[in-house]
């Protein structure tokens, strides 16, 4: 932190401060001891889910082996809803509180949510081929609405990068508006199968209908846990990355100001 004396006499500030800051930035990671162990547990969970899904759970009477995709597909979709819900929360909180913490949370959740939403779409397509006989069905409302949600969040991320980092407050405000407008689609996506039951191949929730039992249900629940752990782990790292980006930008700005002050002090000295 520059002192008042430093500000009055910028030439006194040695380059050691900038070097020190750069050094601390180099050593700063995006994780912590907790996030490291969270990552280890998540990895073990992924391996356990794969083992349960592929080798322990029996094939379904109707869907056959395709049912195994459900252990990734359903938790990914729910994880994406949750992440986009966090984007909505972060966007609303940014507009009301103007705290960059909320903006970084909204951005991080949008990235992780888009990844999970993409995974849900891809696994859904892989499941659709053996079950419905097609990868993609344009008449299916759940597929359409999920794709729309995915595209909205891609648009959110593209626009964030287009807005740039020159004015973080403006970028955060604009992104918050898009985030709120985009996340408003979540209820439409979720309820689409109920509202347009005649326009979907997609089945209603098997979980709430109580159609899944025993080991299949247990594996699905384990899938939710693993995706939840992954969501937390990825959010922590992406959040920290966002925070470091802000610090880097502030630091570069501070260094540029410092250099300009030094130049001005040099000019004053040469004049006198």
């Amino acid at each position: 932190m520059n002192t008042q004396a430093d500000f009055m006499h910028p030439e006194r500030i040695t380059s050691s401060k900038a070097t020190e800051a750069t050094e601390s930035r180099r050593t700063a990671g995006t994780g912590s001891r907790t996030s490291f162990w969270l990552g280890v547990v998540t990895s073990i969970g992924v391996a356990g889910l794969a083992a349960l899904g592929f080798f322990v759970v029996p094939a379904d009477d109707v869907q056959g082996d395709a049912v195994r995709i459900m252990f990734v597909h359903v938790p990914s979709a729910v994880g994406a809803y949750l992440a986009f819900g966090l984007t909505l929360l972060g966007s609303i909180m940014w507009l009301t509180r103007k705290s960059e913490w909320w903006d970084i949370l909204a951005h991080s959740a949008a990235e992780v949510g888009t990844l999970l939403c993409g995974l849900a779409i891809v696994t859904g397509m892989l499941w659709g081929r053996p079950t419905w006989g097609t990868y993609w069905e344009w008449g299916d409302v759940r597929l359409m609405t999920t794709l729309i949600l995915f595209l909205i969040m891609v648009g959110y991320l593209v626009s964030r990068s287009a807005f740039g980092t020159a004015d973080p407050v403006s970028t955060a405000t604009k992104a918050a508006v898009i985030g709120i407008a985009g996340a408003a689609n979540i209820p439409i996506v979720h309820k689409s199968v109920d509202w347009w039951a005649d326009r979907t191949l997609h089945q209603p929730s098997s979980l709430t209908d109580g159609k899944i039992e025993d080991l299949t249900l247990l594996t699905l629940m384990f899938g939710f846990l693993v995706v939840g752990l992954f969501l937390c782990w990825a959010l922590i790292h992406r959040f920290r990355l966002g925070w470091l980006e802000r610090e880097l930008y502030a630091e570069e700005l501070s260094e540029a100001l410092h250099a300009r002050r030094l130049e001005a002090a040099e000019e004053d000295r040469s004049r006198s």
Binding site: L95, M144, I148, L151, I152, V154, G155, Y156, V158, S159, A162, F163, G164, D167, V169, S170, T173, K174, A176, V177, I178, I180, A181, G182, A184, N185, I188
Partner: protein, 225 residues
């Protein structure tokens, strides 16, 4: 409330006066819409049956393109010479600016649709079976498109790649409107066996929600222009 309506009316009339003097919609947007309508005919290999089936979707695709142009133009009026600052300094409410702008874009789009629908009847040999449904669905869908268009045009002000960012943001966000409007028009043109009025209800809901949400958030966006 009266002050709000008065402010919105002032912005609405101002934009229409500028439109009347510059002839942007009638001189540029309308020919563009007409060209797209005709060129869709070429791309479908002049197949009358396919064109007839696709009429509802094609009409709303043209309106979608036109909305991007009209909404961007509407915001350009305010950002040039920082005109919006003068409006705000004059005490005009941000939400009223939004509602006024949406009103003027809606009127311009309805004008374009007034040409597009008969154009589709002539060129695509489509028949309008329910005119009230066409009118109601057009009103709902146009308000929905205009609200999102005006909101997002303000979001991309000052962005270098705004001409590409705006469609990327706009298209997915208005896709529920596109789907519902196409379904409603499908019923009105006798192409789809669906209940067009229930889709029109969805359009009305979307329009109202977007108008309210947009008006609430607009002041935040204007701060950054």
């Amino acid at each position: 409330m009266i002050a709000f309506i008065k402010d919105a009316y002032i912005v609405f009339v101002k934009d229409l006066k500028i439109e009347w003097r510059t002839r942007n919609t009638s001189g540029h947007v309308l020919p563009f819409a007409f060209f797209v309508l005709v060129f869709f005919g070429f791309t479908f290999n002049s197949s009358q049956t396919v064109l007839e089936q696709a009429t509802p979707g094609l009409i709303w695709m043209v309106v979608l393109f036109v909305t991007i142009v009209a909404a961007e133009n509407s915001l350009r009026l305010e950002t040039e010479n920082e005109a919006v600052r003068l409006l705000l300094t004059g005490g005009v409410l941000p939400a009223a600016i939004f509602v006024g702008k949406v009103g003027s874009v809606v009127l311009q789009l309805l004008f374009v649709e007034l040409v597009l629908v008969p154009g589709a009847v002539v060129f695509y040999a489509s028949d309008v079976e329910s005119l009230p449904l066409v009118v109601a669905a057009s009103a709902g869908a146009t308000i929905g498109l205009a609200t999102v268009g005006c909101l997002l045009s303000t979001v991309v002000v000052g962005v270098k790649a705004r001409r590409t960012v705006l469609p990327i943001l706009f298209m997915p966000l208005v896709s529920p409107v596109l789907v519902a409007a196409t379904r409603a028009f499908g019923d009105a043109f006798g192409v789809f066996a669906v209940n067009g009025w229930s889709w029109t209800g969805l359009l009305a809901l979307f329009a109202v929600v977007n108008l309210i949400v947009g008006a609430m958030m607009y002041s935040q966006l204007l701060e950054d222009i």
